[in-house]
Symmetry: D3
């Protein structure tokens, strides 16, 4: 998920503009023009850092100089300094909250993702941990990128991505077969097709209909195993990818992954993330000559 | 926080546009043009609902008809139907995730806020529960409005609001007194002035300097009581408002509120909200004549 | 490629705003306020019509009433009336050129696409005809949708779509194998991987590396046949999709398709389209009471 | 048509953002951060180059260094290098298609324009070759500038430009005389007035009504000569400018120009341009220390 | 200057959004949802009204019903009711100031313009009264339209309009002749050329160089007469239009107009307008059933 | 009112884009590429300068070098040079009018404000001089900042600022008491509450209801004195702030201020400002090697 700097700058400026309103009145009343400040961005708890690249672009776009001391994806410890900033004190104070809100959210998502990925890795499995489209409205790029940095799978980025036939589409089409058939008729060769199924035997129907991926929605690990058994009997296991979704938590993720599915996905990674506590401290300030 | 419909529409369309990308390919492949669908929006867990007004505007702006069955701020139970939607099936399916992401987040924030407010009310206290500026970047209006619906205080909306002199401003100004003095010299008569203090005796200094509100940052309940004692001795208690901030949780919020502060504030309300689980189900579909 | 009406409206209004500048001075000088006009949109040459849906939304968003007489994808003949418009004469005259520019371009692209698709169908083949990312900057949605309406394949919609490893990526990675390996390591399970190859034996290398699609770039039909032979010998034909690209024209498209590739792609469909000649004629005008 | 760099940057970033979507996934998977690449932009066929200035601004806005080897309006030959680019490999690969789409379209339009202009010049005539408002929606500036670079006349830029009374305006006004009269009453002194006529004798009526320019719409060269004869008899030839429009092609343009009209205009220059084939090749790549 | 409603709506919503910020907190605290209010917009002083069309669109875009009692350009008297509004009380109160700011400014500009035009008409002259590009940044359309409604000439709308060669251009070109020559070489046939001269004899030079209009900058009426005399002697008076600019006021405008110039222009009309005092009064309010 | 440079740049570019349209045709026809010009910005009348910071950002964002010779808020004299500019001649000429429109308006507002402030200061009073929300639509930031630079009070910035209960809100609420009560129930602790009263005894009612500020609307100085007397008798004078508004002019401002109110406010400062006459002169021009 590479975005050229100019495009990221614009997204970041919109966040900043929202938070500032018609101007930072506290800063303009208290901080003289032409003061140079030095500050540190410090994390208060351990985790996986994300958003360093975006933070740097945001700060530099305001004319501030940034020395990053960690890179996206690194494990960080409490009290660790993430970056040092030097430059105009007014600009620095005005951007503080937007900067921290972004870093805290992205690092929180990356940290949560990494914990889940780690559990699976420790269990000796290769199952992918994916997020969903349950991102904060407007933050899609940032939420998805944080998942990627945490070692997760970004799943669909938007509705023009992969074809994903969900429950409501099947209601409209009448059946899984009909829905898949309609999709296959005119879909671009560049797209995968996934279908969401809610009963064990539907998995077999979907696989026979020729989809690339089957989402086993709200299946228990036992139900997943049954479905896999059916697929194996039909010689279709390993031909279609399997994604388990619904009811998966940090506690049961290994049980789900152990069934043999290729992907486990959790809405909570991006929709209810616990942010990482990060703060900015001004270390020194001087009036320019 | 009243925003005219057209302005809200534009914010909501941007969220939708982000999620859709160049078009909902699944829907266009599977759902014929000119189909009318009927759907229900159903909550899966109890809480306080928020975002109903925004949801209605979003749906109506796509030409869908909406019958809302609950109003913002109402307590809702699991399986309760929040609204019924009728209209073009393609539009309905394309907006589903954006609609649910918004409703889930706003309802989650309102639910969390209300729980905190309720604890204080049950303890027979009148302390206000406020959020902070730790909102999701880009969602300021929605996060703050959800707090308001949950019975909370929205605090500053942006940096042009109240003057809030924080730690870093004091570093720049040299002292609490100097920071307050500079602010008072040129601040508009329409603004309140709050100052953040980190030590007990600074609260007295700030009150003497003539601020309207003092934020007691990371004070324990004991320290707060000490500060209040000092203010009482100086005859300044009741003249300035007191806000406790930092380290406040659902568990200790009553202890903080019991000290006699006017406001307790928590970043977590908006920065790490647990969303409410809400879904949309298509009940019927028919091809237009 | 379904986009909700509001999002399309905004794209269309930007086109209109560009063409109007600070106002249509001719119309405001000559056409009185509150005149109702009736007009017909007429095509001057035969082809496949596209853009009807967009045209309707554009006109309706200005308060004009539209009766469409053809649907997107229909074959139209010279002098055929595409739609009838009734409403404010000033609005109608101001939107005329933007309306016609859009309809002419989309219909031109659909017509060109359909001719190519038809040649292949008449030869008894099922090869898909795809466009590329050589669209007019800013018109991606409209160009791709016109290709779809003409029966073509829309290929990648943007750079976050399928992974497509091109010549320059291979230069960076060092070899086809290394490029594919890097991509497969962290790519989302929701994406296909395509690689562009320029020599016959690279096709085999790519297939072995596990890509989903191979683009045979600037291969002659003979070279394609050689590549297919190699793939068959390795038991990989039918496992990977094959796309022929480069040097394909209306004249030789059947020769390319006959080789057995799954897709033939042509940049010219969207990058140098011949527009269809369409005009608007005001039939009647009356001053409102 | 001079636009300050910042305004052009914004237009160009919008094109880029559309093509990239949520990020260039291929590049981010394959190309490491902090690699420097060197590339050449090479044209594959001869023509007149246009868009060099815009290309430079687009590339520089992404932090890339550009050395242009040709200037807008120069004649270029197949295999000629247009510019050399050095800088971040990820940025370079992400912008490749947007860059080439712009350069190819603008150069294609300039090349077509120049051929027409050259035919007239070789015939010893001074007739201007103009485009129309049939530009690609959203590309007005770029299409018109390419025409200018090719030696053509940009005609009206938008509807607030010159007054141009067309067929539909005349239907509304009732007659050519009435339409012109209404326009002259309140038009700004800064504007020219042109009227479109479809019959020979209307040219005389229009000239007598005091317009600045007469557009002879779909006149054959013979009809044009008749109209000129009428104007000469009335002593109005040379007082009003004459524009021939409709049915003009590269083949007959000299015949039209030879009649003595001041301007010949063709929609095809901008509405169905043949793009010039241009590509970007990475020559070298190195990982930054 | 006709702009389709949708385009105007967007401009007006931006004004409203700026004034509202994150929401009208006073209105949301005091005015219940679902109240219908009736209000009148009343002018407190006499003048020429402008902005009625824009006001109506702004109000209707918020779902309010509007009955306009006057039309743009009408003479209005103190205490006259301009329009009646019915609809949601919250929307009405939120838009009040934006509505009045727009109406007051446009009516103020129209009133000032009309006074100047009237002086000239009463003196039996036909000289046009033009504004300049000294509009409030961002309000170009509204300022120019108000001038038009007041009977004035809108002059250039932007820099892509007529060619206007000013003092600084002449410095660059070296001389009036050279500047005009360069412009004439490549200017579109659709554009007029005006040149600003500061000395009497330069007017003759400019006329001989073939410009369409000469701006006599900071000429006294006497100097203008001298220039006209020179032009008459050269047989060029009546061939070029003459615009007097600089130092013109309500007091001396007739003296300037009497010299025989075609246009007098004043920056003050749009740059320092005296607004008309207009207010909105709620007449009745009721809670919806 | 501190806004980071990037956010200001965007506001300023929009102004420029509006004035330029599709390009500065005069400049591109007359001024060669790659010319460097030197210019001075000169004021023609005395006053208080404002907009220097914004002017610098606007010019620098186009790549021009600026040396400012005065700072915002300084008193300037006729013929004084405000800044020197060096850089690309085309960019400089294209931005001239936007630059001057901004500087002239902001300096005009600051000059008017300062005169009013000075009268009060000379009368030995400390009354604040405030503007209102009667700013030019779209120019809120610039108008308010100019008032601040002139020594005035910026009052509410938008509707989410302080609660200001106006006449129409009271009509809805039924009475001053009810309106204030409703507001106090749910308003954030961070906001002040002001109420507008139109009769002397309402001032007492408002003060008793617990508002922070009372706006005495259209009170004569005598009526103000009566209201103050009532407040003193009730022991409420000095507890609530008093703002006099309506009918205040440069002539009577001292009489109003002498009554003892804390603030006098005037809509005219921002709604009918007299701009300061400022121009740009090119001193030298040279063709780059």
């Amino acid at each position: 998920m590479f975005l050229p700097r100019k495009i990221l700058e614009e997204k970041l400026q919109k966040m900043l503009a929202e938070d500032i309103g018609q101007g930072d009145i506290t800063t303009s009343l208290i901080v003289p023009k032409n003061c140079t400040a030095e500050a540190k961005v410090i994390v208060k708890e351990s985790g996986i850092v994300a958003g360093i690249e975006e933070a740097k672009i945001l700060l530099e776009s305001l004319g501030l100089k940034v020395k990053t001391l960690v890179a996206d994806g690194e494990r960080i410890k409490a009290k660790q300094v993430l970056m040092e900033i030097v430059g105009d004190a007014r600009a620095m104070l005005s951007v503080e909250r937007t900067l921290l809100n972004l870093l805290s959210r992205m690092s929180g998502i990356a940290t949560t993702t990494e914990k889940l990925v780690e559990r699976i890795r420790k269990a000796g499995l290769k199952t992918k941990v994916a997020c969903t489209r349950k991102t904060a409205p407007g933050l899609l790029y940032f939420d998805k990128k944080a998942v990627f940095i945490g070692g997760g799978d970004t799943h669909r980025l938007h509705l023009d991505d992969m074809v994903l036939i969900k429950d409501n589409h099947i209601v409209v089409a009448g059946s899984v077969e009909d829905a898949v058939k309609r999709a296959r008729e005119r879909v671009s060769f560049s797209k995968r097709i996934e279908v969401e199924v809610t009963r064990v035997n539907e998995a077999l129907i979907a696989a026979k209909a020729g989809v690339d991926i089957i989402m086993l929605d709200n299946f228990s690990p036992k139900q997943i195993e049954k479905a896999i058994k059916l697929l194996k009997q039909a010689g279709l296991f390993g031909i279609v990818l399997l994604e388990a979704s619904g009811g998966i938590t940090a506690e049961n993720i290994v049980a789900f992954a152990s069934t043999g599915v290729d992907v486990v996905s959790l809405g909570e990674i991006t929709d209810s993330p616990k942010t990482l506590d990060i703060s900015m401290e001004i270390m020194e300030i001087k009036k320019n000559a």
